[in-house]
């Protein structure tokens, strides 16, 4: 398969292949509590010269605790050593390629961290009067405008703190829209390939889920959709490109059919990276769009948050958006307003604002032209990998994919007994994070690769070579794959035991060991 490769690419090392990923050695790290020596301290507070009145004179005694909350008592030196060593037990984008499908683990530009730390942004209390936070309001409004241009929508709320929060917000908007028209619609349609958050959000949004089958093309079954549509349908949630990495070619017909029965189209922005500057959800006919700023616009994932999940909407849904939202007055100053039929707040304050500042930084650096390049190269990388891997890992749907490719280890499993999970674990030993495994659920032994646009050809080649080696090993030495990973700080963990003997805290551990006092 590699004949098509140009010779000179083999001369450069693969920057995304971390040679020591995630670290060397396998000594366990004690918990912070196990370093604790009562009486040892690290904290230093400002001298404040306020009289040290006994607390029992200031608060009712029945409310006061008799003993302090016991925490770990360590020196600053030990604190640094502990968390630095923990960081060495952690893989991350900064260390190497992270082709985890559907998660868009692209490089996170460091300048965005610095922006989020600017004192004029980071030190601002969220309850500060509008006149004193004109910069924040301007920043938020510009972010809203850029996101609306990227998605082709009329207005947006920046409040939702993550993608799932955005989904639920969008569904509440859908409900409020129908309710305002005097309609009680009960069902929301979701393809069977959808992310699990979609059906959970639909339920919490007060609707029932109607699941739609995927056809032999890997796309929404248009006839099944038409059969499912009636006046009870509040809307449809689609990810486009879908979770198989395929563009829903019939989107125009889908939109027309849903709108025909008075339903709305919800765009799950999980895969927005593929279409930046190429096509916009609004132009496809979508009414509600959530974006994952931590995926598409490179705000770091933080080990599982913080994210940000702004929701943009078409004109007819603007009156229902959460409030308060930033607005520019006629005199040029900025303030807050609540839309006329607002569903209310979905965040304690204004959203994950420092994440917004990072995303706007990324958006300004790329501009309209750069975003288009992002989509092109993300799709190019995914397709290169699709074709390059085809010999051992056939794509579940063999045609041009978008930003990610779902391949199947089904044939490998039948032939050698090696499962998709084994491949994923063995890949860790090769210096790469695993792809997403067993999703979407409709593909046998699914391995979902999303290389993203920030990985180089050399990295892709090294990844593909590693996967080829693994495929050959599956035939020659399947036990090695079952045993993988063998180079990581810990090997496969006993998940059943974790659930059976739940130890969620140090105290539960001590009690299980008979160490509790």
């Amino acid at each position: 398969m590699s004949e098509g490769m140009i010779e000179e690419t083999h001369k450069s090392a693969a920057g995304g292949r971390a040679s020591s990923a995630p670290l060397l050695g396998d000594d366990r790290e004690p918990t912070l509590f196990e370093f604790s020596v009562p009486g040892r301290t690290a904290y230093q507070l400002r001298t404040n010269e306020i009289p040290a009145i006994d607390i029992t004179e200031l608060l009712p005694v029945e409310h006061l605790r008799s003993e302090p909350v016991e925490l770990a008592d360590v020196s600053e030196r030990d604190l640094v050593a502990h968390f630095t060593r923990l960081s060495h037990r952690q893989f991350a984008v900064d260390l190497g390629a992270y082709p985890l499908g559907s998660c868009t683990m692209k490089y996170n530009p460091k300048i965005c961290d610095e922006v989020a730390g600017l004192p004029g942004l980071a030190d601002v209390h969220p309850g500060t009067p509008a006149a004193l936070v004109q910069g924040w309001l301007a920043l938020m409004l510009e972010t809203e405008h850029v996101l609306c241009e990227v998605t082709g929508m009329a207005a947006a709320t920046l409040q939702p703190a993550a993608g799932a929060a955005g989904e639920l917000t969008g569904l509440l908007l859908m409900g409020a829209y129908h309710e305002a028209r005097g309609e009680k619609r009960t069902r929301v349609i979701i393809p069977d390939s959808a992310h699990g958050t979609n059906p959970a959000s639909v339920t919490l949004g007060g609707f029932e889920v109607t699941t739609l089958p995927t056809d032999e093309r890997g796309l929404v079954d248009l006839e099944a959709l038409k059969a499912a549509l009636d006046g009870d349908v509040a809307g449809i949630m689609l990810t486009n490109p879908n979770t198989l990495g395929l563009f829903e070619e019939d989107i125009k017909e889908i939109a027309e059919a849903v709108h025909e029965v008075g339903g709305l189209l919800y765009y799950d922005g999980a895969n927005l990276n593929a279409i930046l500057g190429v096509i916009r959800p609004g132009d496809m006919g979508f009414d509600i769009v959530h974006m994952n700023l931590h995926k598409t616009f490179a705000t770091p994932h933080g080990g599982g948050g913080p994210g940000a999940g702004p929701v943009a909407v078409s004109e007819r849904l603007v009156p229902f958006l959460p409030g308060p939202k930033p607005v520019q007055h006629d005199d040029g100053t900025f303030g807050w307003m609540s839309p006329e039929h607002s569903i209310g707040r979905v965040h304690a304050w204004h959203g994950n604002t420092l994440v917004l500042a990072r995303a706007l930084t990324y958006l300004k650096i790329h501009g309209g032209d750069g975003l288009r390049r992002v989509a092109e190269r993300a799709v190019l990388n995914a397709n290169w990998l699709r074709v390059r891997l085809a010999e051992h890992y056939p794509a579940a749907y063999d045609k041009t994919c978008m930003h990610e490719v779902v391949v199947s280890a089904g044939a490998m499993k039948r032939k050698t007994g090696v499962k998709g999970l084994d491949v994923a674990k063995r890949l860790l030993e090769e210096g790469f994070h695993s792809p997403t495994v067993y999703f979407p659920l409709i593909v046998e032994e699914a391995l979902m690769f999303e290389p993203t646009e920030t990985e180089s050809l050399q990295t892709l080649e090294a990844l593909a070579d590693a996967l080829d080696r693994i495929a050959l090993e599956a035939e020659s030495d399947p036990d090695a794959l079952h045993a993988a990973p063998r180079t990581t700080p810990v090997r496969r963990v006993d998940e059943a035991r974790a659930a059976r003997m739940l130890i969620p805290t140090q105290d539960a551990r001590d009690e299980a060991l008979g160490l509790s006092t």
């Binding site: 904290y43 400002r46 952690q90 770091p300 599982g304 090997r491």
Partner: protein, 458 residues
Amino acid sequence: MPDYMPHTDEEIASMVAFLGLDSIEQLFDAIPKALQVAGGLSLPQGMPEPDVMASMKTFAKMNKAGADQLICFAGAGAYDHEIPTVVRTLGGRGEFVTAYTPYQPEVAQGVLQAIFEFQTMVSRISGLPVANASLYDGSAAVTEAVNLAVAASKNETVYLSSGVHPHWRSVVKTFARGTGHNIVEVPLNNGVSDFDAVKDAGPPGVIVVGHPTYLGTLEDLADVRSRCDEAGALMVVAADPVATGVLRSAGSWGADVVVGEGQAFGTSLGFGGPYLGLFACTMDQVRRLPGRLVGETVDEEGRRAYVTTLRAREQDIRREKATSNVCTNQTLMAVVAAIQLGWLGTQGLREIAERSVRSTRYLLEGVTKIDGVEPLLPGVATVRDVAITTPLKADLVLERLAEEGFLGGLALSALTDEGDGSVEPNLREHAILMSATEKRTKDEIDQFVTALTKAVVK
């Protein structure tokens, strides 16, 4: 053309050729041409980093509210605590910042163990045996607590005390549009929930109170517990985690769920986000716990290891049957909180709690010596926050204080809606909610009192 993509023109050409295509545009042939963006997005061209930094600094400069411009006496769920260099440095490590949800535990032991330590700390602070890996913020945590409690009690009537932060109550009400829960707001009487005022609302499936309330007052948690027992309801307490440094934990009063805002532990004010939702519950409710939970286990060689557990609760497995749609949370803030609490230690948490109580009391004593400035609730003990009334409208007073370099607090007229059950209607426009953390010095408070003295003159 600034960006972060490594491809050279030659590489792109070779990759396109490898795919048997003539141009990169052909990759998008499945997308109907008529719908494609013609002529590119209507956005400015990309700019190199130094130019963008300058433009982002313009926003920062337009704000007149940084720590060097305004001395912060505002609280209301967002507090100006010391964040030492060591916490910023460790929390900024790329391994924590640029990882994702620990799906492959073998290469995510760092984040998993940090969360395990965080869960332990939240469990001890709340006085309950299990805490999750965090939620988005305090408002999300209280919303999830309501959903859990309704699922457990099978009674959709929610008594929501007006002592819970007004914004958090708004969020609970927004999400109740979807779940259909019957939210009954319980007014405050002299800073304590007045359950008699809602006795016709039917028995609750859950009672949610703030402790302290957002006004800083203390609830009678023993009474709340007995009301819950009587109704078969779950008791949810929105507790301030710093105040718990001096207060008995909500768990010790019998709460089934304790939630809170963890921003005070190492996360900057940041104009409101990202923050950190804290969530702890009894073992009875662990299978309804929203969000991620890390548990200890062993690997194939018997070594101690950590993994996300009880996954069967989660939306990626249970889909429409899940009781929460939470996928990611605020892991980085949770890791930072674990580092900050490690830095504080047993003594440090107690000390910032005590100092915050003393500073706020010293502040209250100072400002109420001013003519016409009174406590909103005279004689009622408060912790964390305290409300005062002034002879002038609160927003005008705050404007004048800002000119003197102080963020004087939050106007209750801005924080609450008209008719809110937490404040007397005639006092709402004149009330300011204030707080002083361990960071405020005697000098700063004395100067603030001087500024307020001038600000309340008509």
